[in-house]
Amino acid sequence: MSTREKSYPAGSFSSSHEGGRLAPAAVAAANRYALTLLLAMGGMLVWQAITYFGSIPRWQLPSPWEVLQVLGSEPGLMARHALVTAQEALAGFAIAVALGFALAVAISHSRVFERAVYPYVVASQAIPIIAIAPVLVIWFGFGLTPKIIVIVLITFFPVAINTVDGLRNVDRDMLTLMRTMGASQWQVFRMVKFPSALPLFFSGVKIAAAVSVIGAILGEWVGANEGLGYLITVSKAQFLTARVFASILVLSLMGIALFFFVSSIERWATPWARRDAGPSVDMETRR
């Protein structure tokens, strides 16, 4: 047949398929992060220069070096509070993903449920979190619960909306094909709808991952006695601005870590979507 077929080696194909792509992918990744790091270093240099040559008081803008020094001089303090925030963010994120997914499945499978619930899902995003967070503190105290509620409120939405779209966008002809085979509802969901919706589901989950850290801070802002959000509030009051910046730095690292964690799960769960091998032949041959 065509040269396209011959270009693949025979034999244990799946492993060679992966292996052939891994090395260039790793190089590409290294290149990409090298650029990111370079940009960060450049930014820090500029920042350092501004604080060094400019006449901004340190309590207004500490130098990056001072920020890093906070991390070095108070590692225990930072770690303790970071751990609390990470816990809140992870718990809220996990619950939001589960809730968002369950809602999406229910919405896309039941007209009645969709009519009844979908408007409220959308309306939930109009709730001013800042306004109800204090109420949550009154109800649930300073503990984990009000933070988790805030995070879930913010992050279940992108998961639910994207997954609903994913479940709706499934190829109707594939559903018909499954019907010709006499597939059950559950089989259709498991074999077609769910995998078809996975890429959009992961888009939603990635947004949720990035936002969940903000949710944790928001929750801590209103009422907490630990966590990075609490630390920021306290440090700001004492004009320990370098510590505020250090906390923000740790927060962003947490957000990035969660995001890349989700990304790697996505790559593992949707191997067919990795099309970096070049243009798809679908364009020419799919009928």
Partner: protein, 275 residues
């Protein structure tokens, strides 16, 4: 089933019996009649082809027979019974390959078996040896987006075959194949058909293919599709490619080509002037 009391019913003699089936599609503005009182029959173990101009309703007819689209009127008997819910009774290869992008070649091929409840491991080990026969050896772990159109079609065909039904509806199964691969697939299909005694209803645009493979050929009119002609192919079996040069083959082929040409001209005219 329906007339069990009064001896063997006439439909019991057929694997597939279509009687007076009509179908229209509607959109907001108008009605599109697609099939008009189509009747056809396929006996047990028979190989029957349908040819007809594009858009005359062949795929629609297959959708009706397989049970995923309801007919407006008429009756459909599969295996001698008129079942309201007959999905899953026949093996259906749709015109589009509809491979699932998230399944590898091997897992696409075993889809029907999995739906039927076969354990994936067992299904895979049954399918593996067949991949080679279909020119797919070494591609079992590849996702469909990396396949050529012809390979995709062979995967879809194998998926239908492995669904293990006595009646197969094949909607242009070899349309995307080059002549050489196509002839290999013809030989393979004829071999399987003879060995298993399967009953095949086959849609094609290729008249030569229809004559070479079939016991009988139905020609359909332009939309709304009706049966225009039925031709028994009286070439001996087993069939070979050498026969395509024989006098009898060419005669039968030209009868079909002529019938089809008249319809295609009409089809183009009706397309140019929409109702």
């Amino acid at each position: 089933m329906v007339t069990a009391a009064s001896g063997p019913a006439p439909q019991a003699a057929f694997r597939v019996l279509v009687q007076g089936v009509s179908k229209s599609y509607h959109d907001r503005h108008r009605e599109l009649p697609v099939l008009r009182r189509v009747s056809l029959s396929v006996r047990d173990g028979e190989f029957v082809s349908i040819i007809g101009p594009s858009g005359c309703g062949k795929s629609t007819l297959f959708n009706i027979v397989s049970g995923v689209v309801p007919a407006d009127e008429g009756r459909v008997y599969v295996n001698g019974e008129e079942t309201r819910n007959r999905v899953g009774l026949v093996g259906y290869m749709p015109q589009k390959d509809l491979l699932l992008p998230w399944r590898t070649v091997l897992d696409n091929v075993v889809l029907g078996m999995e739906v039927a409840g076969v354990k994936r491991a067992a299904a895979r080990s049954e399918a593996m040896p067949l991949l080679a026969a279909f020119g797919l050896a070494g591609f079992e772990g590849v996702y469909p987006h990396a396949l050529s159109g012809g390979m995709r079609q062979r995967v879809a065909f194998l998926r239908t075959f492995l669904f293990h039904r006595d009646v197969l509806l094949l909607d242009e199964p070899f349309g995307a194949l080059d002549a050489l691969t196509r002839s290999t697939m013809h030989e393979w299909l004829l071999g399987v058909w003879e060995k298993l005694g399967a009953t095949i209803l086959f849609v094609t645009h290729d008249v030569e293919e229809a004559v070479l493979l079939s016991d009988r050929v139905y020609v359909m009119t332009a939309r709304p599709g009706q049966i225009k002609m039925e031709l028994g192919i009286d070439l001996p079996r087993p069939r070979h490619y050498d026969m395509t040069m024989s006098q009898r083959f060419l005669e039968q082929k030209s009868v079909l080509v002529q019938a089809l040409r008249d319809e295609s001209i009409e089809a183009m005219e009706t397309m140019a002037a929409p109702a």
